[in-house]
Symmetry: C2
Subunit: 307 residues, 2 copies
């Protein structure tokens, strides 16, 4: 799957992943209202509205970008109906040949991580059948529990030719509280980055490993160091746009071949119509606004990279 991701990034010339993180207040009013009219003020109305909104977004951007990244928390808050919406979103995006990164940030002790890996990337056995649950292409994973919390994910990745992105340095303001603390003269995130490189060593695609990393756009200097610590790991870079990261901040995350990083934007794309300069598209044009925001982001990044 890392090979497919790299191929699609080259083809689209857009190292961009669109974060499908649907807050209800991002949804155009007519979409939610129609579902509430049909299902009442229920979880089902929310779930159905989210699916419609997402399908509109996917239809508008699937030819421009290699991947989407649904953030499962935004679906989980609507319970079962929300998770049905998550499942349908993953399926629809895959039908459009998009690579799907499940932003699930799971991680636990070995046997439990194995169950999470099964849930999101693998297959579970019922009787004589092997069945897939959510079946994303990649998942994000939390490293706090160490190697035996990560290994079950890597095993499933090798079996299924899928991938993970391990949290190394996150984009949020207080990420430094633990991640930046110095251990033998180097910050924790570097030690985690070193492990990411090791975990990926025996799980290599053609150019890059199945084991990638998450490093926030908001910390470009750290990104530069981590790019060197994990030369074969793709870096998933959140924090562009709404969280404050800009095109020029992204340069250190890329290798000299222009590969090695994929930048996420969520709100900045999916809710583009709520802000200038995209407000002119209006609520009804939310998907066209998203498309334009992707084109502008692509131009911003490629200009910064000197392409």
């Amino acid at each position: 799957m890392i090979n497919k991701l790299v191929t699609k990034i080259k083809k689209t010339e857009a190292p961009i992943v669109v974060g499908l993180d649907p807050m209800l207040n991002y949804l155009p009013k007519h979409i939610l209202d129609a579902k509430i009219a049909e299902y009442g003020e229920t979880m089902k109305a929310a779930g159905r509205a989210i699916v419609e909104y997402n399908k509109g977004l996917i239809d508008a951007i699937y030819d421009l970008v290699p991947a989407v990244k649904p953030q499962i928390a935004m679906y989980e808050q609507f319970g079962i109906e929300g998770l049905i919406a998550f499942e349908e979103t993953v399926k629809y995006a895959k039908e459009k040949d998009l690579v799907v990164i499940g932003d699930v940030k799971r991680g636990d002790i070995g046997s439990t991580s194995a169950a999470y890996a099964t849930a999101h990337l693998g297959k579970v056995t019922v009787g004589s059948k092997k069945l897939s649950a959510f079946d994303e292409d990649f998942a994000t994973v939390n490293p706090y529990l160490g190697t035996d919390g990560i290994k079950p994910f890597v095993d499933v990745c090798k079996e299924e030719k899928k991938g993970i992105f391990v949290l190394v340095k996150t984009s949020n303001p207080s990420s430094g509280e633990f991640q930046d603390r110095e251990i033998d003269g180097r910050p924790l995130y570097e030690w985690v980055g070193e492990k990411v490189a090791q975990w990926g060593e025996d799980a290599m695609g053609d150019e890059y490993s199945y084991v990638g990393a998450v490093v926030g756009a908001t910390y470009p200097k750290m990104g530069k160091v981590l790019r060197q610590v994990m030369p074969k790991s793709y870096i998933l870079v959140p924090g562009y746009g709404a969280q404050g990261g800009k095109g020029k901040d992204l340069v250190p995350f890329f290798n000299e071949d222009g590969l090695g990083a994929i930048v996420n934007s969520s709100r900045g794309i999916i809710a583009a119509y709520t802000k200038e300069p995209y407000a002119k598209f209006g609520e009804a044009g939310y998907a066209d606004a998203a498309r334009q925001a992707v084109l502008d982001m692509k131009a911003d990044i490629n200009q910064a990279l000197g392409h």
Copy 2:
């Protein structure tokens, strides 16, 4: 909810939480076979079998223990049907007046943690209605992202009078890889423990805080230090039984009043019938075997604590 947990621990004299982590191979054959006969080799068969198994367990132990802890990964691997089983398990346990600790180990940047907190402890707004999704009483949370990943959980806890247990020192073999690394002369888990104490300061129940911690039974010396670092935090202690922890290892996790810790056992209780000395109960007696295993665990812990 921490007050209810403490009250129930005092009343049952059992600082024990039963981990409802149903692997399909723990289930008595007749339960799974019947559901496969009804629904085929499907996720639905797995989900329905898990609910029946769990209800049998809950019926057998609800008067003996204060709490149960369903591990969501074991449900999530069966997709939507698995999560329906999780939801029904939580509901059934609450009907039996058990405190429910959702072992979900979520954690993300602020806005995303807020959605997870809503999903598991809070309420989401759809139109004019406030609706609950999974509605556990407590959730486990991962600290890697720092304060702004935890704060949204604490806010919901205060609003809903619920609680969290933050991962501090986990029970797995490689937990030390990052958690034990020294920062200014003290291991990372102590720094995390200190933050747990701070996060809980303005979220106090009568005797203990809404913000507890997870510390593995497999590391009793570290438990002793952490008990002092976080005097007002309840410690959820996994790793007893199947993972290797014994009654005497648990003493350091408790305060002198005999409170302050609640010990989890999963396999050792719910799959007791598969191992000596409970094999005599047989598959059909899996719930009675679980009850006896709880009674033996209670005796082991109380003897170790000198009660």
